[in-house]
């Protein structure tokens, strides 16, 4: 919908792209690339970004000209913005990249299906960082050090891979080798109703105990205000998104000294008991089926006093069209757990390269990934984006330092930037969740156990013991 090919000369370059494919001979390419360069010159500024700044990279952006690649993404604002500015990528490289929107509930399965069958339908896709061990174990994707280290493909003086947030780089790498380049992501932070807290003289929680007691004091269901909410819906990316932070903050370790995975340790039981007690006592009914949009909606309707979830949920709670609590929102870091740790998620969507592609398409895909992760594109899809929605999950430290970007974020509410950036800097933990090829099965098993104890189908101990048995079976094969 958003490929706004207007009155610019971009259609000409697209036509050239198509002809290039038809006449893929050396002479044909040479002949046709001349007008393409002219087109580029005519649009040095680009429609959405400064192409000259991209061209300052010492690589040949047009080396895979004529390629057509499809990238699987989810229909979220941050990818829709990317889709809008794609015309500038075509103008820069002569590559036709298409974003295919797939709902978040299906993108993992579709990607696994595509990768395991080796069809190369998706040159790249928005990848869940927890899936990298699985991808790598099957050798479905290319290690990216070969691309980052190749001067023909990457000018790292310009790209600056190290500028991407460290936690995100860590979680998209296996054994120190990068396999995906993060595009957009989030930190989990505490969100609370400043007006309610001020009235009750409460402060944002510093510890888990305080979070529970704040919820207790603010809890007033008679007047349709519930104390707190966390993700309750069963899923590796839902309740198994929030529980790992609690587990780690209670001092839990996924693997014991002999490398065995343990999910029913005393820390695990304490963490799950805390979660169950909080939600059963202070969350609205139905929370066991809530994912983050449900929490943000309820908070926006003024029925929840505090929650802990992605910083990007501010896009809903601070949106005057959707929320009744704009101007009454405060933000803070995760509270400290009993172990003294604060553990935020290091969730991000990143782009890997499908190993089943031809070399030319791999180059095209790498150029796309570099472009999407570049500072220029990050800015163009964020505060500089002409549409109403502007991304707030930029991938680079340098972008988070830009005053325009900070001004965009500060509008969300009190202490938003400080809570988020401090989280990125201090609270990230690469071992937030157990990184294993068997993650899909392990994550789902844990999600089932967490929900079963939340709704009282099993006690916390029984649920975790059952999960432990099942996980031992999964890891044994």
């Amino acid at each position: 919908m958003t490929n706004r090919i207007g009155k610019s000369a971009i259609p000409i370059s697209k036509a050239i792209t198509r002809r290039t494919v038809l006449k893929a001979t050396a002479s044909g390419v040479a002949l046709l690339s001349a007008p393409a360069i002219l087109t580029g010159r005519a649009h040095a500024a680009g429609k959405y970004m400064d192409l000259e700044s991209l061209r300052s990279a010492k690589i040949d952006w047009r080396q895979a000209e004529g390629s057509k690649i499809t990238i699987g993404v989810i229909p979220a604002g941050y990818f829709k913005n990317l889709e809008t500015v794609l015309s500038d990528f075509a103008a820069l490289t002569g590559i036709e990249a298409r974003l295919e929107m797939t709902p978040p509930g299906q993108i993992r399965q579709k990607a696994v299906l595509d990768l395991s069958s080796g069809t190369g339908t998706w040159a790249s896709h928005a990848a869940d960082p927890m899936y990298y061990p699985l991808y790598v174990a099957n050798k479905w994707i290319d290690p990216l050090d070969a691309y980052l280290g190749n001067e023909k493909l990457t000018d790292n003086g310009w790209f600056r891979y190290e500028d991407i947030l460290a936690g995100w780089r860590g979680v998209t790498s296996i054994d120190g080798k990068p396999y995906g380049i993060p595009y957009d992501g989030e930190a989990t932070i505490q969100v609370y109703r400043k007006d309610v807290f001020d009235k009750l003289s409460l402060k944002p929680a510093e510890t888990f105990d305080e979070f529970m007691s704040n919820a207790d004091k603010a809890h007033d269901p008679e007047n349709r205000l519930w104390g707190a909410a966390l993700r309750g819906f069963r899923g590796a990316g839902q309740n198994m998104y929030i529980y790992p932070s609690i587990f780690r903050a209670f001092g839990g370790e996924w693997f014991n000294n002999s490398g065995k995975m343990v999910v029913n340790s005393s820390e695990a039981i304490a963490a799950l008991e805390w979660y169950v007690k909080l939600l059963n006592n202070y969350a609205p009914q139905g929370v066991e089926n809530w994912n983050w949009p449900d929490i943000a909606d309820a908070f926006g309707q003024g029925t929840v006093a505090s929650y802990i979830d992605a910083h990007s949920s501010a896009a809903i709670v601070a949106n005057p069209e959707k929320s009744k609590v704009v101007g009454k929102i405060g933000f803070a870091r995760w509270p400290k757990g009993p172990s003294g740790k604060r553990v935020t998620s290091i969730w991000n969507w990143s782009f890997p390269i499908n190993g089943a592609l031809s070399n030319k398409d791999k180059t095209a895909t790498w150029l796309f990934i570099q472009w999407a992760a570049s500072r220029e594109t990050q800015v163009a899809t964020s505060y500089a984006f002409p549409g109403a929605y502007k991304r707030t999950g930029a991938n680079r430290t340098s972008v988070w330092a830009l005053s325009d970007y900070r001004a965009l974020l500060e509008a969300a509410g009190d202490n938003y930037i400080s809570a988020t950036t401090t989280s990125f800097a201090k609270d990230t933990d690469v071992e937030w969740r157990p990184r294993l090829p068997q993650w899909p099965a392990v994550g789902d098993t844990m999600a089932t156990a967490i929900q079963a104890s939340l709704v009282g189908q099993a006690s916390v101990t029984d649920a975790l013991n059952a999960a432990q048995r099942k996980i031992e079976g999964i890891l044994k094969g």
């Binding site: 395991s116 899909p440 939340l454």
Partner: protein
């Protein structure tokens, strides 16, 4: 078949030729996947552990014996099938008997009855989840609270969730039982009832001794068809509860799906699916046998 000479033999060859595209499509879309499913149930195919892939023999089936979640799912499948088929039959028969009493306008009931059947199960699941059973905002909860009862978290607590998915399935498929039984009732010979009435048999006796035996074939057909569908139910539960909360509504079909497509363990998932296939074939075999035995 009788040998009828060259002309017919030629026709038979031609006939075979004409149906062969259909047979080929059928083989490719049903026989081949089925054979592949059975083959993969004897293999280790686990995308999370590709290094272990290979022939597994009966390992997958042996694993099932000690898998608590499998037995739990099997038990739920039994409860789900027996109770939903029983409810469909009783309510469907009751409605059919009621509608038979209406002298004109039966066609209207038949049309209304078709509506739930033509809805896609996934739509039915979502419709019940979001519109009817949602806590606080759902229509069912609204009615219950208006009547002065405590609000029930239908899809969020273990037992109500199982009851809900059974009721959703019953809601969608009772009309099928109703339509079949109504048609069967309409075709009963009136003179037998006339004779019974002259012999002073009361309504209950007439129902037990005349109506029921006469519509038994229709009842058995309904039970067979509904049991086979209930055993392999998937979409409505998947949309309404996803098998949850926890594993409270995870029938065997959902567990097989999850094992294959969420946990990526295709070998074990195939074995679970094959076991469901065997159970379905077994149950329908017994019911068919019951039907023919009664007849003879």
């Amino acid at each position: 078949m009788h040998r009828q000479g060259g002309l017919f033999a030629g026709e038979r060859g031609f006939a075979l030729l004409m149906v062969s595209p259909g047979l080929l499509v059928l083989a490719l879309t049903t026989t081949f996947p089925l054979a592949y499913l059975i083959w993969s149930s004897f293999q280790n195919i686990n995308l999370a552990m590709p290094f272990l892939d290979g022939f597994a023999g009966l390992d997958n089936y042996r694993d099932m014996l000690s898998d608590g979640r499998f037995w739990h799912a099997l038990q739920l499948t039994g409860i789900y099938t027996v109770s939903s088929v029983f409810l469909q039959l009783v309510i469907g028969l009751g409605l059919a008997l009621l509608v038979m009493q209406i002298p004109t306008g039966q066609w209207l009931f038949r049309i209304v009855a078709i509506l739930p059947i033509v809805l896609a199960p996934v739509v039915v699941g979502l419709f019940w989840r979001t519109l009817m059973l949602a806590p606080e905002f759902g229509i069912v909860d609204f009615i219950i609270r208006t009547l002065g009862f405590e609000s029930v978290n239908w899809l969020g607590s273990p037992t109500p969730a199982l009851v809900s998915v059974i009721l959703i399935h019953t809601w969608q498929w009772t009309p099928f039982a109703f339509l079949v039984l109504l048609a069967s009732l309409a075709s009963l010979p009136l003179d037998v009832f006339e004779a019974a009435r002259i012999d002073k048999a009361n309504a209950f006796q007439r129902f037990i001794h005349i109506t029921l035996p006469l519509i038994r074939p229709a009842i058995i057909i309904v039970v067979i068809m509904r049991s086979m569908i209930a055993l392999s139910a998937f979409a409505a539960i998947f949309a309404a509860t996803g098998g949850g909360p926890g594993t409270a509504s995870e029938i065997l079909n959902l567990y097989a799906y999850k094992t294959s497509f969420v946990e990526l363990n295709f070998g074990y998932g195939s074995a679970l699916a094959v076991s469901l296939l065997i159970i379905t074939l077994g149950v329908s075999g017994i019911l068919f046998h019951l039907r023919t035995a009664r007849r003879s």
